[in-house]
Assembly symmetry: C2
Homo-oligomer: 163 residues x 2
Amino acid sequence: MKKGFQDHYPDHTAHCFGCGRLNEAGHQIKSNWDGDESVARITPDPEYTALPGYVYGGLLASLLDCHGTGTAAAAAYRAEGREMDTGEPSLRFMTASLQVDYLKPTPLGIELEIRGKVKEVKGRKIIIEEWILANGEITVRGEVIAVQVPDKVILDLLERAGK
Amino acid sequence: MKKGFQDHYPDHTAHCFGCGRLNEAGHQIKSNWDGDESVARITPDPEYTALPGYVYGGLLASLLDCHGTGTAAAAAYRAEGREMDTGEPSLRFMTASLQVDYLKPTPLGIELEIRGKVKEVKGRKIIIEEWILANGEITVRGEVIAVQVPDKVILDLLERAGK
């Protein structure tokens, strides 16, 4: 499978249930650029039901969350003219705020497309506008305010990982 | 284990990954009144990691989602002076909009308390204000705009369930 932004996260920040390549139980979503937009695709497993036949809203929120922070990280590298996972510091983002509007029920059993676009960059804070498509139709819209993980947190994680 | 609001949902609406008693793979969260507030408690499994040591934001969003719609349903019954799962129609809510503010990292490995309060009732729309506590400290605040599931959707589900 093609690598995503999230596959470039350093090991000590790659355990996220939504997108960490080192979390075997998780979704391991993979986001990539598609021009100015970012895109990730996933077909939710059948247990991610809301009302029968529709995708669980908590999963949809989770997809926006990880696609949003991934897009923020990729945008931060792009702004510095660097490839992801090259040089220091590594740029990893976490969610400060998440807004999700469920416009209509999202059908379960088909591939979903999660799309994102950088709306605003303010220093270490990046706002990503997002939407989810099912059968080419937008069913969910959302926004993630992502902030760069503080250096102190990264240092703590490295220390705990014995590095 | 003590029953929650969600255990009173009719069978054809009890498959939600977050709170459905008929979804064996799901979280099966159980919410109850605690005076004017509602409360649910859950200890997230270790795979629900964000950065190592902290709870995955997508799970926290999911907990607010299902605790919010559960609280909305219970509030709707209470407003009608009915016990849950008595009489018709059954009152089931879904999320129209979800807002989550991650105030600080939520530690993984301990029991979390999700609390909610009815903020506003406007016909079939109920707004629930929510917060999550870890070690007695608020780490997340959020809001769910819940709307009563349209009768047509319920009828479709019943038909699909062969009832």
